[in-house]
């Protein structure tokens, strides 16, 4: 079963938590908690098992960010979510050299949240105009500043 193979692949990385997800309630088969520094290793392990990066996003929990990575597989149904909590102002390592698709996702997270990704080939805004100086999805984003 793919889930066991994934658990075996993720075991050596001593991640904070690798647990079965409750598919009926949350839609996940495997829930993983990791530190941002471990993300390239986690991504490499997932790629070795043939999983693709479904989506990469962030959630602003006011005092810290949570980077959320979703991995899925073409041939077998097993959705893995990886939560990596990141302090405000800290940098997360990029996984775009492992998953080239992550390049745009990381640029979008940078654009909307301001989280910088170390080692990203060209980290600049993707959705907002280049001269925008605000990050809209931050919880303390005052929209009036942007509408002047």
């Amino acid at each position: 079963m793919l889930k066991d193979k994934l658990k075996k692949a993720l075991a050596p990385l001593d991640l904070a938590q690798v647990a079965d997800g409750d598919y009926a309630k949350t839609g996940y088969h495997l829930e993983v908690a990791a530190r941002p520094e471990q993300m390239p290793a986690v991504a490499q392990a997932m790629l070795s098992q043939g999983c693709f990066l479904e989506s990469l996003t962030a959630v602003d929990l006011r005092e810290s960010f949570t980077l959320v990575y979703h991995f899925a597989n073409f041939h077998e149904l097993c959705r893995t979510v990886v939560h990596a909590s990141l302090a405000k102002g800290a940098e997360a390592p990029t996984i775009s050299q492992i998953y080239p698709g992550a390049d745009w996702y990381e640029r979008e997270v940078y654009d909307l949240f301001g989280i910088r990704f170390a080692g990203h080939p060209n980290l600049k805004r993707i959705l907002l105009p280049e001269d925008a100086d605000f990050h809209p999805l931050l919880k303390d984003f005052a929209a009036e500043a942007a509408n002047d």
């Binding site: 959630v59 979703h70 745009w104 809209p136 999805l137």
Partner: protein
């Protein structure tokens, strides 16, 4: 005044926001040597309207109309994805008749989306007649959907817990008539387009995508099925009433533009099969779950619901902190991943081929920019 002796060889061109082949406001920055492209960089964001920012200051009901304006060509799949995600959060089970209705209407909407794509794509390649055929079929379909949902394009028809209106006999008769009519039209499409030598020369062996590239870029939908991977959420992660129907997943073999075109064409036939089976086995019963809370206030937690749209896998990821307003909604849209492979496909291709490749990705710009 011509500066003599300049050896700058590459010519930079904007395949800009206002261009007939970009299906909206996508800008591709091209660096070219003569006719061959050395670098193509899509610049997106010209259709960014801030759906995810709107989600955070609206309650769950108010965000429903937005769902139809993210990908307006297959709006009902986005409604279905969002409603199923919220139903998972609230723990509501949708009655079987409502699930059948949702499948029927979503499949009809998929056909209308593919019809728009075939018409617009062949217009990019210079054929002016097919779009008239496609839009003619689509108008018949929109009359059908207009009768029950009330709108032609941006449907906001599904509710949490089911469907507000029921099908009447006229709709079912119209649906069967439409199915019969569209089946005869596939012959025209094959003769008019698939066997057209210009179309074959422009699409065979162009824009090849390997399965390994699909994995690395996270492609979904007809892009991935064109390369031979049978990945379709309706089959690989069965949701709603899809397990009750038998239909195949058409796949291509080489992954060039012709395969993607054929996949979309055959997908329409499969959709017709699904609708027919759904109409035959339509169960009676309620179309709305019994106790659906008026004020949707889900418990704390997060959910990810994937749905198969015409362009690929739409994932609705909701983080709720027990408030009336969602804390964060991330819309995993297929075209964002599908388009990110364009720079790699475009190297060393002719400009005319780039237009063909860009069209075969089937992008909807406000869906990429959200």
């Amino acid at each position: 005044m011509i500066e003599l002796g300049i050896e700058e060889k590459t010519y930079t061109l904007n395949l800009g926001p206002q261009h007939p082949s970009t299906h909206g406001v996508l800008r591709v920055l091209l660096e070219m040597e003569g006719e061959y492209i050395t670098k193509a960089e899509p610049v997106i964001g010209y259709g960014h309207r801030g759906h995810e920012h709107m989600a955070e200051n609206r309650n769950y009901h108010q965000f429903l109309p937005n769902m139809a304006r993210v990908d307006y060509l297959h709006a009902l799949a986005y409604n279905q994805g969002y409603c199923m995600a919220v139903e998972k959060l609230l723990g509501i089970t949708v009655p079987e008749r409502a699930e059948y209705l949702r499948v029927i209407l979503s499949e009809f909407n998929r056909i209308s989306s593919h019809l728009v794509w075939i018409g617009a794509y062949l217009l990019d390649l210079g054929a002016f007649t097919p779009i008239l055929y496609c839009f003619d079929d689509r108008e018949n379909l929109l009359d059908l959907l207009d009768r029950i949902t009330g709108s032609r394009l941006t449907y906001c028809f599904y509710r949490f817990g089911g469907v507000p209106l029921d099908l009447d006999d006229e709709f079912i008769a119209g649906a069967r008539a439409f199915i019969k009519r569209l089946r005869t039209r596939f012959k025209d499409y094959n003769n008019l387009v698939t066997k057209n030598v210009i179309f074959i020369n422009r699409t065979k062996g162009v824009g090849l995508i390997s399965q390994e590239q699909c994995l690395k870029y996270g492609l979904t939908g007809p892009m991935v099925r064109g390369s031979g991977i049978p990945y379709d959420i309706r089959k690989s992660e069965p949701y709603s009433a899809y397990p009750a129907f038998d239909f195949e997943i058409p796949i291509g073999d080489k992954g060039d533009i012709m395969d993607r075109y054929l996949v979309r064409l055959r997908e329409m036939e499969q959709s017709l099969r699904i609708i027919e089976q759904a109409l035959d086995k339509l169960p009676n019963g309620p179309i709305m779950a019994e106790k659906v809370p008026k004020r949707v206030k889900p418990a704390e937690g997060e959910v990810y619901q994937a749905v198969e749209t015409a362009r690929g896998e739409f994932g609705c990821y909701i983080v709720s902190q027990g408030d009336v307003k969602p804390y964060r909604i991330k819309l995993r849209v297929p075209s964002f991943g599908n388009l990110s492979i364009l720079p790699e496909l475009a190297v060393d291709t002719l400009v005319a081929d780039l237009v063909a490749i860009l069209g075969s990705v089937d992008v909807v710009i406000p869906e990429i920019d959200r």
